[in-house]
């Protein structure tokens, strides 16, 4: 068996098939978790009719969407309109290449794995912008513009937030980062980094409270207003596959990935990923949506400086306590205190949005 996996072609084929089927299958699971979890938190039940406990609801929805008529607006740029879902979908699948399901069980153990994730991950916003631009719909365009703005802003705190982790682990490879968390998951050593990363990831994949590009109460459906049928399903898939990828990355770099007692490693990984997604559902259920200028203010005035401070604090800690033996309680307490104090004081200092704008065009 090991000899078979040593063959790069077999390795490539096996993991490609596995990852695509995992992504597509897990997306159904995510949709189920989201709808049931959210329903339960909203004092209702969620879908419970199709199949046992409503498990087949996502399948039924997929079949329904497949049978829908594909409508392309008359003024749309047809080629771009057609290409957009694919351009949005492919990079999301590529992210899974560096996600370790078990020790070394990944398509490619790149030594710059983390960098690769963010380099690839932001490409899907090109697809979203293509969708918004080509639909020739004002709502779509506004949504796509908001997406570009939020992606450009949130890439920076997103990447800066994990530099702390990289300093602690001493590697950019995702598998090495997981291995470095054998004693202690990095969420305890990097609470501030985790919070910033989580919030920025929510903004990056456009989940509430940062889901401005498909803000249903103001932009109808944002960039995919004009999409129907299979193309709409692709965007729906992108949305949840992105969420799955981000949750997988968060559980890899902050929650210890496949590390864990008793259960098999791949199960630990899945539990952590789905648990992270439940937190995302939880925040979506609770929070209202921020405004576009507040989104920008939050990225540039709040998350960026805090991420930089986090890097400095982590660097100092690494210098003072180079190799913590056992559980580094001092570090944990210091880090949580720093995170709490910084979040409270910094949010008091910053100005959150601009308010009314006096326009000259009247």
């Amino acid at each position: 068996m090991t000899e078979l996996f040593a063959n790069p072609w077999f390795h490539w084929a096996f993991y490609t098939v596995l990852l695509i089927s995992f992504a597509l299958g897990a997306v159904m699971g995510l949709i189920y978790i989201e709808r049931r979890g959210m329903g339960r938190m909203q004092s209702r039940l969620g879908p419970n009719r199709t199949g046992p406990f409503g498990l087949l609801q996502a399948v039924a929805d997929a079949v329904k969407v497949l049978l829908k008529e594909d409508i392309v607006p008359a003024n749309a740029d047809k080629v771009v309109h057609w290409l957009a879902p694919i351009v949005a979908f492919v990079p999301v699948l590529l992210i899974f290449a560096v996600v370790p399901f078990m020790n070394g069980a990944m398509l490619a153990d790149l030594n710059i794995g983390i960098l690769y994730v963010f380099a690839i991950g932001s490409i899907s916003s090109v697809g979203i912008f293509m969708a918004g631009w080509s639909s020739s719909n004002k709502y779509s365009l506004l949504g796509a513009m908001r997406d570009v703005a939020s992606i450009v802003s949130y890439e920076i705190p997103l990447v800066l937030a994990i530099i702390g982790v990289v300093i602690l682990a001493g590697s950019l490879s995702t598998n090495e980062i997981v291995k470095a968390q054998a004693n202690i998951p990095f969420i305890l050593l990097q609470p501030l980094g985790f919070i910033i990363f989580f919030a920025a990831a929510c903004a990056e994949i456009n989940r509430s409270p940062f889901d401005l590009l498909e803000a249903d109460s103001e932009l109808v459906a944002g960039f995919h207003t004009e999409y129907s049928g299979m193309k709409f399903a692709m965007f729906y898939l992108v949305e949840y596959a992105e969420a799955l990828a981000m949750c997988a990355i968060i559980s890899t770099i902050f929650l210890g990935g496949w590390q864990g007692p008793v259960l098999p490693p791949w199960l630990w990984f899945l539990v952590k990923t789905f648990g992270m997604f439940y937190v995302m559902v939880w925040t979506r259920t609770t929070f209202p949506r921020v405004r576009i200028d507040q989104l920008m203010a939050l990225a540039w005035k709040f998350m960026l400086p805090l991420a930089l401070i986090n890097i400095v604090v982590t660097a100092i800690e690494v210098v003072i306590w180079p190799t913590p033996a056992g559980l580094p309680w001092v570090l944990i307490i210091v880090n949580f205190a720093v995170a709490g104090i910084l979040i409270v004081t910094w949010s008091r200092l910053m100005k959150y949005g601009w308010g009314r704008v006096e326009t000259t065009l009247r």
């Binding site: 339960r40 004092s43 209702r44 039940l45 419970n48 609770t286 979040i343 008091r348 100005k351």
Partner: protein, 167 residues
């Protein structure tokens, strides 16, 4: 505007996650049916043939013009008869004013609420269909003596029995 994050967000998140421990409010409709109000103004009218004198007060009271009533004298057995009594339930807005107007307690609201029809023509009901029968229960609207016979309304206030004053 100055805000400091954390407190309000966490408080809200606590409220939503606590909801998982509570009973959901919803009812699974076709399996579970709640009793409707005893005074429900259902989607049909029930007409009592023996009590109706054909005075047409209901037809005059109906501001929608949904009730059609034609009376004639039956010369054979020397009686005054209601020849046609027809209600177009498509026009009816279930306001119940006809029931209130009836001076002889001959007209009632129906208690059923599932009355979807496939064709518009089926919405017009004649006097045979409107007769007081078992498959057409009578609601207690404006007739308290009828209301007592109906089951007690299921109330959400009573269905979800949780004391939240402790929290």
């Amino acid at each position: 505007m100055k805000l400091h994050f954390g407190n309000g967000l966490l408080k809200g998140m606590l409220v939503t996650i606590k909801q998982n421990l509570r009973h959901p409010t919803v009812t699974q409709y076709p399996e579970q049916r709640l009793n409707t109000s005893r005074r429900i103004r259902g989607q049909e009218l029930v007409w009592n043939k023996t009590r109706c004198t054909g005075c047409a007060t209901c037809a005059k009271a109906c501001h929608q013009g949904a009730i059609q009533i034609v009376t004639a004298t039956n010369t054979e057995n020397n009686k005054y008869e209601v020849e046609t009594y027809r209600v177009d339930t498509g026009y009816c807005i279930q306001c119940g004013i006809c029931v209130e107007a009836c001076p002889y307690d001959a007209l009632f609201m129906g208690a059923r609420y599932e009355k979807a029809k496939y064709r518009r023509a089926e919405l017009v009901e004649n006097k045979e269909q409107m007769a007081d029968s078992l498959d057409r229960p009578v609601s207690g609207y404006f007739h308290p003596e009828r209301a007592e016979k109906l089951p007690v309304q299921t109330l959400l206030v009573e269905k979800i029995n949780e004391d939240r004053s402790k929290e």
